[in-house]
Amino acid sequence: MIEEITNPDEVEARIQKLRLLEALLFASADPLDEETLAGRLGPDANVPALLNELRAHYAPRGVNLVRTGAGWSFRTAVDLAPLLRQEEEVSKKLSRAAIETLAIIAYHQPVTRAEIEAIRGVATSKGTLDILMENGWIRPGRRRETPGRPLTWITTDHFLDHFGLESLRDLPGVEDLRAAGLLDSRPVLLGIAGGGVEEPAATDADEDA
């Protein structure tokens, strides 16, 4: 691996330079050009020689050191591409409306679509429940025994699995959310809070419905 150098100190110094080069290329978000690398490795480093050595080391492996334009970067080996890319779906961000709807189903289940809309104060767009159902997070529950016998929605076991919960009981309650700072409490308008005295526990019950 190391050629034509016999002095042990020099060998050690060269190995350290190689290791640093490897780490820099690994951690960088963009390809790095030789000038930048030289700046990081110090004036006594022979950057082209080090790059060649690293390239040779990685050539047979699952990851290769490749040159793109003026820069160098690690890339997974081209021949492995078919094995790496099994599904081409790109992960997407769930819309805010969908996250909120999912949260409301989780906290209020079983809940009908009309109830979700009453709680959120806006109509639920057509695709929202579909998306949540396609992902296996929600499923239809029993019909409510009221006029029209509307369908209710509940969360699935996959929902618990995805969010790392053991049971629905482990979902933080409204007070827990408030205490954790996820739900800012209403502005304190009382003139004199008693110093460090915790604010009285605000009532949970809310005025929806």
Partner: protein
């Protein structure tokens, strides 16, 4: 009335108060402050003098009250507790009283050690090489989503945050009318209950009044509210009151449960 207030403010040694506020800002509550005072003894926490510690703490609180610094109730409760502990340590034991002064001192020493241990642990934890600071992940992850269990990237935090924001919007939709600035009976009951549960012995009613309440109307309403609150709580059997004579100070303590 305005003139009187003005006079009062002028006499307040603002600079001393500011310095104390600065010192206080450095602490995360009374236990943290006790720990800092304890470190000044420069001995192992297991051999610390709790009595000396109590004196130091009480001296600090006295100083703060002298400059009329508003202290959080937690600090006052700790002061009352330490004064009580001190009396228990100095005065011969009353047979049937549990726990003993020594037990209380040992419990406090344990709490200080435990807090110290956690402070050291957090320093060690954050002294470790950290991802994104000292150790780095792949800078250019390639677009193969290997771990995909779901097409969508949503975390529990996202879910809870969404629910919290939804709740917040609902709350903000309600109109609140700013109350008249009077000290309410409810606040006084709340404050008294908070403090009393942790006050070990008789204390004067005036020691419960919040410091730093400005304005004559507010001060009067605070006194009235606290007085009414003690009556309320006495009626509910939660406190006991004592007054040694007309116009003498009124003492309060939490009701002693008969067993």
């Amino acid at each position: 009335m305005a003139g009187e207030d003005f006079e009062e403010d002028r006499l307040t040694p603002d600079i001393a108060a500011e310095q104390l506020v600065l010192v206080l800002d450095g602490f995360e509550g009374p236990l943290d402050m006790l720990l800092a005072l304890g470190r000044e003894q420069k001995v192992d926490l297991t051999r610390i003098s709790i009595l000396q510690l109590a004196d130091q703490y009480l001296a600090f609180i006295a100083e703060a009250r002298k400059v009329r610094l508003e202290l959080a109730a937690d600090y006052l409760v700790m002061a009352a507790w330490l004064a009580y502990l001190k009396s228990r340590l100095l005065i011969p034991q009353i047979e049937d009283e549990e726990p003993s002064g020594e037990d209380m001192a040992a419990a406090l020493a344990f709490q200080l050690q435990r807090l110290e241990a956690m402070k050291e642990a957090s320093a060690k934890l954050f002294g470790r090489p950290r991802l994104g600071h000292d150790i780095f992940a792949r800078g250019a992850p390639e677009d193969v989503d290997i771990q995909r269990k779901s097409v969508f990237q949503v975390t529990l935090y996202d879910l809870l945050k969404a629910y919290g924001e939804h709740k917040k919007r609902k709350e903000n939709g309600v109109l609140y009318i700013e109350p008249v600035r009077l000290y309410s009976l409810e606040d006084a009951v709340q404050r008294l209950s908070e403090m009393l549960g942790r006050m070990p012995d008789w204390a004067t009613l005036s020691s419960f009044l919040p410091d730093g309440v400005r304005g004559a109307l507010l001060t009067r309403s605070a006194l009235a509210a606290h007085f009414a609150a003690t009556l309320e709580l006495a009626k509910a059997g939660q406190v006991e009151l004592r007054q040694d004579g007309a116009f003498a100070p009124i003492y309060v303590r939490r009701a002693q449960r008969q067993e």
